[in-house]
């Protein structure tokens, strides 16, 4: 079983999936997120992948199934609520249960280790949190690269990245964005004289700040609550909460600026940026938006970052 998953909404508690971390694919769809296109490419053309699980959470993920329709691999779209309340949690819990049943039916085995997996994930996230709180002392590039490697392994083989100490007196910045497949961007950021002191990326700040998932009681409700109630994605439609949480952290970490790293045609972050930027401005915090064109990265923004470093 080698299921490629997209997004932090996919419950790791149910079974092992390989997190999509970027792929050089041939598929390019106009006005469509290249990150999602690359995911489609890998599912279709990487023979080591035998399944795909992705959310219905934005316009790009919403239509992935239309492009995967003809593959005979396991294809599952997990509907993720577009709101957060008791109805959404109950509904999402049922969707997670259906997802588990679909995997059992397709792969022909029974999933019985959800509680063990929850404990392992809680432990891993706690360790990640410690690492995240120590960003001041390490290279952010090494840290995030380590997380990406970790997420491509089966849960029981995952270990928290070992990152060497690397102090820096660079300009303190906070990163905002979706899953960052373009690791080389981070090299550019660090080489441009920035020190990343925090982020709200799904694989880093949002994962590290996730509260432990409970085991007692309805396990599916617990997982649903755990996923939906952590630091929010803009697809959950509560921009106010995202901005409030982020700005608290930005201030507490004394960040001098904010770098928005978005995928071209990722509308959720484009909409978020339009109001986020105003809020940062009113708080006297400078920001820059870098729009990446594919999941492998781009060098076009080096000059923009240099100018931004001068500005702050």
């Amino acid at each position: 079983m080698n299921i490629l998953s997209l997004s932090g909404f996919i419950p790791e508690q149910i079974c092992d999936t390989v997190r999509f971390t970027g792929y050089s694919g041939n598929i390019s769809i106009s006005h469509y997120c290249q990150y999602a296109s690359d995911y489609i490419s890998q599912v279709l053309y990487d023979n080591s992948v035998d399944g795909a699980v992705f959310p219905k959470s934005c316009d790009s993920t919403r239509i992935i199934k239309s492009y995967l329709g003809e593959t005979d691999k396991f294809v599952y779209q997990l509907p993720v609520p577009a709101r957060i309340d008791e109805y959404a949690i109950d509904y999402f819990a049922n969707q997670i249960k259906s997802y588990k049943q679909a995997i059992e039916a397709h792969y022909g085995f029974e999933i019985t280790d959800i509680a063990d997996r929850i404990e392992t994930i809680n432990r891993r996230n706690k360790e990640l949190k410690m690492l995240y709180e120590n960003l001041e002392m390490i290279s952010y590039y090494d840290y995030l690269q380590g997380i990406h490697k970790m997420l491509t392994k089966p849960l029981m083989e995952q270990s928290t990245p070992q990152v060497k100490e690397k102090k820096s007196d660079g300009k303190r910045v906070f990163l905002i964005g979706s899953f960052l497949t373009s690791e080389n961007v981070l090299n550019v950021i660090e080489n441009s004289g920035f020190k990343v002191v925090g982020d709200n990326l799904p694989e880093s700040g949002r994962l590290a700040n996730r509260k432990p998932c409970e085991i007692a009681g309805d396990i599916y409700i617990n997982i649903a609550k755990n996923i939906l109630s952590s630091r929010l994605s803009p697809t959950q439609n509560n921009f106010s909460e995202i901005i409030k949480d982020d700005i608290n952290e930005i201030k507490s970490k004394k960040a001098q600026g904010v770098i928005f790293l978005t995928q071209k045609y990722c509308e959720a972050y484009d909409y978020l940026y339009s109001v986020y930027e105003k809020k940062l401005n009113s708080e006297g915090i400078k920001s820059i938006k870098i729009s990446l064109t594919n999941s492998e990265g781009s060098k076009k923004f080096e000059l923009a970052l240099e100018a931004f470093a001068d500005m702050i």
């Binding site: 769809i29 106009s30 006005h31 469509y32 219905k56 959470s57 934005c58 316009d59 790009s60 919403r62 239509i63 199934k65 239309s66 492009y67 329709g69 779209q77 509907p79 609520p81 577009a82 709101r83 309340d85 109805y87 959404a88 109950d90 509904y91 049922n94 969707q95 259906s98 803009p234 697809t235 439609n237 509560n238 921009f239 106010s240 071209k264 045609y265 509308e267 959720a268 484009d270 909409y271 978020l272 940026y273 339009s274 109001v275 930027e277 105003k278 938006k289 729009s291």
Partner: protein
């Protein structure tokens, strides 16, 4: 005696726009105001005595008034990416500049967004919520991606929650009988609209009228006036001559081009007759069910863009067959990713065009001409 369609139409328009800033002369609406997306269960809002306005439709009006470019530029200056849905960019520019062909819609007391057409609209509504600092309700419709029973429970809980929240906002008491009546009105509007829309296949009629007349089904579907309008239109259309069979029947697969005086590419389609369109069926909602909540679920959970690819293809194939079209103009709309795939599995000769329904500068006229000429050549060789 049936009133003329033009008179009925002007009454509906006067009613809808009376509190827009150009006409209101400072008068505040006498009811609570919601801004809603195009597939909001407005029967609930109507029952609770609210006004509701459609920013998407107003963006279309702005483009039809040839005013969209300055608004698109303004919203881009305000950091809203031009890659976002042009409805949102256009309207954000309008709000920022505080001007529009009919002024500005009345300020909302509440914002209601649904995701049964796309996930972009709830995001746009988030930025409206920041602008107006009013509550935002997002209604989540799983469509066909979830089990029907689970989806019904989830959607109905949200509809009931919406009722409670709007009761609190308006101070009005919810009346289930009135909701049933409003749903019945919408059902009748859909019934008469379907009859009007069929004229496109059978009668000598340009699609411009049909594209414009659908706006009442979108914005005022549970209004008795809308039923009367469509009845009157149907009577008028019965008198029209039959469609010219010498022209090539072509299906318009996608949005109307709101900025275009004719709403379609009339300059390239002299030899063609538009005999069908899927857009004009999007609001032909199916209110089937044994009670009000089942009817609302059926209508709003299974909107066209919330269907699986398989069912979209089936529905489109049937529509194209019924229209007797030989070919289609298939529009890939930069602003609507969800519709981008609708025609993916349609097997008729197509001219596939990259367009935007609001931004007139997006379309390459030269390329369009070539593609339509190529389509003609393809048909000639078949």
């Amino acid at each position: 005696m049936v009133e003329s369609a033009i008179k009925l139409q002007s009454t509906l328009m006067r009613e809808y726009y009376k509190y827009f800033s150009k006409y209101a002369r400072g008068a505040a609406p006498d009811k609570k105001v919601a801004w809603v997306t195009a597939f909001t269960p407005v029967e609930i809002l109507e029952t609770l005595g609210m006004y509701y306005y459609y920013p998407e439709s107003y963006a279309a009006v702005i483009a039809a008034s040839n005013k969209e470019q300055s608004f698109l530029e303004k919203s881009e200056q305000c950091n809203l990416s031009r890659d976002c849905c042009s409805y949102s960019c256009c309207l954000e520019g309008c709000l920022e500049l505080e001007e529009g062909p009919r002024g500005i819609p009345p300020k909302p007391d509440i914002l209601i967004a649904t995701n049964n057409q796309c996930n972009t609209l709830p995001n746009w509504w988030n930025i409206l919520a920041q602008r107006f600092n009013v509550p935002l309700i997002v209604i989540d419709y799983p469509g066909e991606s979830a089990d029907k029973q689970q989806a019904y429970k989830y959607v109905t809980e949200q509809h009931k929650d919406l009722i409670v929240r709007l009761e609190n906002l308006t101070g009005n008491k919810f009346d289930i009988n009135l909701l049933e009546k409003n749903i019945q009105n919408s059902t009748e509007s859909v019934y008469w609209w379907n009859k009007v829309a069929q004229a496109l296949t059978k009668k000598e009629i340009k699609p411009t009228a049909i594209f414009d007349y659908i706006s009442y089904l979108i914005t005022q579907r549970c209004n008795l006036g809308t039923i009367e309008l469509y009845q009157a239109l149907y009577e008028e259309m019965k008198e029209l001559p039959d469609a010219d069979k010498n022209l090539i029947p072509i299906f318009w697969l996608g949005y109307p081009l709101w900025y275009h005086p004719k709403r379609y590419l009339s300059e390239f389609l002299d030899d063609f007759r538009i005999c069908g369109s899927n857009y004009i069926t999007w609001w032909s909602l199916d209110y089937s069910g044994s009670n009000a909540f089942e009817k609302l679920f059926s209508a709003y959970n299974y909107t066209f863009l919330n269907l699986s690819q398989k069912n979209r293809t089936e529905r489109l194939t049937k529509q194209i067959k019924d229209s007797e079209a030989f070919c289609s103009v298939t529009l890939h709309n930069k602003s609507c990713k969800c519709d981008f795939v609708s025609a993916k599995d349609i097997n008729i000769p197509q001219a596939e065009l990259e367009i935007d329904m609001i931004d007139r500068n997006f379309l390459s006229l030269e390329k369009t001409k070539k593609q339509i000429d190529l389509l003609k050549d393809t048909l000639c060789t078949q």
